[in-house]
Amino acid sequence: MRLEPRTEAARSVWAIAPLVAVVASFVIAALLALLGGASPFAVFAAVIKGAAGTQFAFLETLTRATPLIFTGLAAAVAFRAKLWNIGGEAQLYAGAIMAIVLGTGALPLPAPILIPMIMAAAMLAGALLLLGPTFLKTRFGVDEVVTTLLLNFVMVLFVSMLLDGALKDPMGLGWPQSKKVIAEAQLPKLIQGKRLHLGFLIAIGAALLVWFINARTTFGYEMRAVGFNPRAARFAGIPVNRVMAKTALLSGGLAALAGVSEVAGLKGNLTLDLSPGFGYTGIVVAMLAMLHPIGVIAAAIFVAAMFVGADAMSRTVGVPNYIANVMVATALLTMVTAMLFTRFRLKWR
């Protein structure tokens, strides 16, 4: 058995790969459900009902998908240029901090001015946070995977420090939480009385924008060239390091928007459990989407559905909701394996 390179990328595999990943994650989940002493069908039924069975459930899935679209885009943009940004979690918190710093009354401005300002400041913070590791990579050859991962831990401690000090809510009864953002800084709800907020539409807009950059601009082309073969890109006259830096700014900025969206759209304030690993899950979303920005929307909704559905399922059927995390990780590994066969074919010999 060996792998033989294909001369042309196989379109058929491209279409099938996500399906294979979804099926594989369900097979694993079925086995785990049996292990947990429940019927797989009861588990799946409960997950699907919990994720999309009612209007409330479906809106909840879209609400959960919102930060995942941002972090998924952040990973997709960076991975396309082979910049391994695993620091989405830290950049998300950087954005959330900016939302609290500017949004809790420091700037008494009307919403149409304040919200874009918060978003811009947050993007800048997230972008700068990723620029550091990118500089270390291009200048000193330090692996950005490890530096961005380590910065996630530093950032969470930094947030914890702020919530004990500068950003602590004096009325918070001693809980490590910030003040709530003022009304002008809140992202309006899309449907009266529901949790889904403007952040979802901004996320869709961001995906379209990234698609446009990828498909229609020189920068998009340069990112792809750098990711495909940095040496060839350099020979072709592409300023590789500058493209890397620009990619980092875009990627870090996108991840930071996830933090703004969660704070200003949903939670209202900053706490240490703002993100249950949205930054890490964004990597899975990006891979499931085959790094395509429009695919990120679909992948984020799928992954969010698993998490929201599993939460509901664990309440009714009693199987631990970590089953969703296992499904998502399985989907990631099967997806990258399936994608291999767009470039190679298997020879039995």
Partner: protein, 313 residues
């Protein structure tokens, strides 16, 4: 007690060796993988698996050393998976490693919740007890730090010597080192590159799992969520810091742990002036600084992260 005086306390060095032990195991594990040319970012998840597997075995009545063996085997199993995906299939070692960490961690948490559906306080086990080596443990300062530890710490030190010996003094070690530098040369010797690399990743992952098992079976007596807490990522930095050599990696792990033990004590001393989070950040920042400092001299195994496909140049 002043900031400098702490350095000469025996308890600091005893703590440093204790903190270093899991790092020594996991750093050795990552070192073996990388020497064979495979970056293993599954380390964080594999440590979590090891921590749980060892602990839950003992909780269910196995003796401690059986628990250690179970942990190592569980780690090796994930190593084989990582090896299969990255060596014959040649998938991105970055993405696969992150995937292995996510899978291993979530499977562990799922298993924990299945085994203990509703516990308020985590169940405890009887862990390895410190064993004072007669004579040697009487040496001032050093004796208490090095020779009054649990058997797993001794195993960590023995492992360093064993791995260094195998890597640098045996044919199989030579093959492992060569496959990380020039796989074609190994192939020319008639050795199967794929099997050798998968084997190295499996053995390395078993060591990582031992690092995790140390946490639940020696450092603490229970399994907690997020208990590995970035130690795996720190070990990846330690491998670079130790220039892929077991002895230097050991030194790096001890230095790092001494610093960690020092900051814990400094916290009590300077805690009134600085928030405690600043001290907790230091180990991570130190790891990043170590990576930068070593970057110019970093002699990466030349075939690290490059998949080998027969007949391809």
């Amino acid at each position: 007690m002043d900031a400098l005086g702490i350095v000469f306390e025996a308890s600091l060095w005893a703590a440093a060796i204790r903190i270093a032990s899991p790092l020594i195991f996991a750093t050795l594990g990552e070192l073996i993988c990388e020497r064979a040319g495979v970056l293993n970012l599954g380390i964080e998840g594999i440590m979590t698996v090891g921590a749980f597997a060892g602990w839950v075995s003992v909780y269910n009545g196995a003796d401690l050393w059986t628990g250690v063996a179970v942990a190592a085997l569980a780690g090796a199993a994930f190593g084989v998976l990582h090896g299969f995906l990255t060596v014959p299939l040649g998938l991105s070692q970055h993405v696969t490693g992150i995937g292995i960490t996510l899978l291993a961690t979530s499977l562990t948490y799922y298993a924990y919740r299945i085994a203990f559906p509703s516990v308020t306080s985590p169940p405890k086990i009887e862990t390895f007890a410190p064993f004072a080596i007669p004579g040697l443990s009487q040496i001032p300062i050093l004796g208490d730090a090095l020779f009054n530890q649990t058997p797993l710490t001794y195993l960590a030190f023995i492992s360093v010597i064993a791995v260094a010996y195998v890597l640098h003094r045996t044919p199989i070690g030579l093959a492992v080192r060569t496959v990380g530098e020039n796989p074609a040369a190994v192939e020319a010797q008639g050795i199967d590159v794929t099997l050798l690399r998968i084997g190295a990743v499996a053995v390395g992952s078993a060591f990582m799992a031992l690092g995790g098992a140390f946490l639940t079976m020696s450092a603490f007596n229970s399994f907690y969520f997020d208990m590995v807490n970035g130690r795996g990522w720190i070990c990846i930095a330690l491998v670079v810091f130790g220039s892929w050599r077991p002895g230097k990696a050991l030194l790096g792990a001890i230095l790092f742990a001494a610093f960690d033990a020092y900051q814990l004590r400094l916290q009590q001393l300077a805690g009134a002036y600085l928030p405690y989070q600043v001290f907790l950040m230091l180990p991570y920042i130190l790891s990043i600084l170590a990576l930068i400092a070593m970057s110019r001299r970093a002699g990466y195994p030349r075939a690290l992260m490059i998949p080998y496909r027969k007949g391809e140049r």
